[in-house]
């Protein structure tokens, strides 16, 4: 009985570790015992899924400090982790982060934006269209790169609204 309670506690701890570190899969083996936890990810899982593998030599799960060998992903924060809004492209064209090749970008991560703040240029048919944030908040992430082709509705920036 006590064993079972301990196991349950360890599993709950594992789940907390997974959530805090945005891990999707955890597999722990010791001897013949194995535990495999998989968390639903919500969006389409593409190549860079962080995975933690622990091979514990001891009798109890989690007795040793697990070595996390995952590579945290570059640009996939878990959806619903916070209430983030997106600035989406209203047209089809080519995305430019800066007003001209030599200048600084219009916005970077951490920048505060208001509804009229120009966040980027999208070039369509030789016309440079200034795209406005149309919301108030802070830029959390830039989702596209300079010179990238974008389609209608494509998310460009993640914004934490005020």
């Amino acid at each position: 009985m006590a064993h079972k309670d301990a196991d349950l506690r360890k599993i709950k701890e594992l789940i907390k570790i997974m959530t805090d570190n945005e891990l999707v899969e955890v597999e722990i083996k010791h001897g013949d015992d194995k535990i495999f936890l998989k968390r639903s990810h919500g969006q389409q899982v593409v190549n860079q899924v962080p995975v933690m593998r622990i091979d514990s030599g001891s009798a109890a799960v989690g007795a040793q400090t697990p070595e996390i060998s995952s590579q945290p992903t570059a640009a996939q924060p878990s959806p619903g982790a916070e209430n983030l809004a997106e600035i989406k492209s209203p047209i089809v064209g080519t995305f430019y982060a800066t007003p001209s090749p030599d200048s600084d970008p219009y916005v970077e991560v951490g920048a505060a934006v208001g509804p009229q703040t120009v966040v980027c240029i999208i070039e369509a048919m030789k016309v440079l269209n200034e795209i406005k944030a149309e919301m108030s908040g802070t830029i959390v992430e830039v989702l596209v790169s300079n010179g990238q082709a974008v389609e209608y509705g494509q998310p460009l920036f993640k914004v934490k609204p005020d």
Binding site: V92, G93, A124, V150, Y152
Partner: protein
């Protein structure tokens, strides 16, 4: 041949063009609105670009967005399909200005044939009979009144910039002429942005017979025989067939020659359909020329064995139409039924919605052109046509039987479709004997 093209259309014709391109090793870029984002044919294209919301004006009819999509995907040409921008002269011009090949006729030919009034004048020059009518636009109702009395009733008022049955009024007497004139002008203005109307003698019991033409950029123009499209409801075609069941050899040849003269007079290249009205004495009159590929092109494809979409691509890329007229044969008989998401029991009211059960027909002689599948949601934003069933057999009688068999197999649930209406028409004595005209459907159903 092009290495990559963009398809400025949606649905079954987008899929049709993608298929032709795949066989020619041409890469494809499909554009789509948010309403079409789950369309499976997008997976068959090499790239797909979302160009806007469901609303056509901000997607499939939006020239800047389509051209932008063409630029970012680096295509050489654009195929406009049918409908949408296929006969939009401004779009063709913009393509040229942006260094993109418009897969269709030259702008000048589109202008000449696209304006119904100018087209009639061109037919005169080509020595092709036209329906007696106003030589040009009618500005005032007093003029309309005089002309109507000169030609003799019944007459029809038509929009110069239009088609598809809009901006048309049939008038039988002086009493109704003034109001018909102004309402036709109002409808024309609303539908095409141009209130200009002209008038023609209305042929009683007319058959609609059209000739398929293909012309290259090197002076070779050929016909691919005719289609009879008399089975219409409110000027919308429901059933098309080839050959026309009532044509004798001589009239068939005369129609084809007349169509070729018109195309050559217009310095045309690529696909065209020249439409005629046949009266009950086999007299024929030129009505209009459609400067695009048509919905019913598969009917001609199955009886002649030629892929018309591939010819469009080849011709636009500058290749020769390397066929002789003699080598193009019409074999057997073909019928096409257009299947629309409409309820025949409620005056063909549109029935958008999700198709939860879909089982298409098959078997010998049956071809189905569609983008629809089980789980597809028919959007209210677009045309109600969801599939075309084409049957090809050795005789017209066999084709009718096979079509009935195919339509009875065809399951589309729970939305209502025009399948029962097609079955009723195919079983009607007059249709079987082909004693029909363009008023047949509305009189009998």
């Amino acid at each position: 041949m092009f290495s990559r093209i963009l398809i400025a259309n949606r649905g079954e014709i987008a899929l049709r063009i993608i298929r032709a391109c795949r066989e020619l090793d041409v890469e494809t870029v499909a554009v789509y609105s948010e309403a079409d984002k789950d369309a499976p044919y997008l997976q068959l294209a090499d790239e797909a670009v979302c160009i806007g919301p469901a609303d056509c004006a901000r997607s499939y009819l939006n020239i800047p967005r389509i051209i932008s999509a063409a630029e970012i995907t680096d295509v050489e040409a654009i195929h406009p399909g049918y409908g949408f921008l296929a006969e939009n002269i401004h779009f063709a011009e913009v393509c040229h200005e942006c260094g993109l090949t418009f897969i269709g006729p030259p702008v000048e030919a589109m202008q000449l044939l696209g304006d119904k009034v100018q087209a009639r004048e061109l037919a005169h020059r080509a020595g092709v009979p036209v329906v007696p009518g106003s030589e040009g636009a009618i500005e005032k109702d007093t003029h309309a009144l005089d002309l109507a009395n000169e030609m003799g009733y019944p007459i029809i008022i038509k929009a110069a910039a239009g088609g598809g049955g809009r901006g048309m009024r049939v008038v039988h007497n002086d009493i109704n002429l003034r109001s018909a004139f102004s309402s036709a002008r109002a409808e024309a203005k609303a539908a095409f942005g141009d209130a200009t109307v002209y008038m023609e003698k209305f042929i009683v019991e007319p058959r609609h017979v059209e000739v398929q033409i293909m012309a290259d950029k090197h002076g070779n123009a050929l016909h691919f025989y005719e289609r009879d499209c008399s089975t219409q409801r409110r000027h919308q075609k429901m059933i098309e067939e080839s050959p026309c069941p009532v044509l004798d050899k001589r009239t068939r040849q005369e129609l084809a020659d007349a169509a070729l003269r018109i195309i050559k007079e217009a310095n045309y290249d690529n696909a065209a359909t020249v439409e005629f009205i046949l009266d009950k004495d086999k007299g024929y009159y030129f009505i209009e020329a459609n400067t695009r590929i048509q919905v019913e092109h598969p009917v001609t494809e199955v009886v002649t064995g030629h892929d018309l979409i591939k010819w469009q691509l080849k011709i636009a890329a500058g290749e020769h139409l390397n066929l002789s007229q003699r080598s193009i044969k019409l074999t057997g008989a073909a019928i096409e039924c257009r299947i629309n998401a409409e309820d025949p029991e409620r005056d063909f009211a549109p029935c958008p919605g999700t198709i939860t059960k879909y089982i298409p027909p098959g078997g010998p002689g049956v071809r189905v052109d569609t983008h629809v599948h089980q789980g597809w949601t028919v959007s209210p934003s677009y045309d109600s046509m969801i599939a075309k069933v084409i049957v090809h057999q050795r005789t017209r009688t066999d084709a009718i039987e096979t079509m009935k068999r195919a339509l009875r197999e065809f399951v589309i649930e729970p939305i209502k479709t025009t399948i029962p209406a097609c079955l009723d028409i195919l079983s009607h004595n007059l249709f079987v004997k082909s004693k029909i005209d363009t008023g047949f459907v509305e009189r009998n159903f």
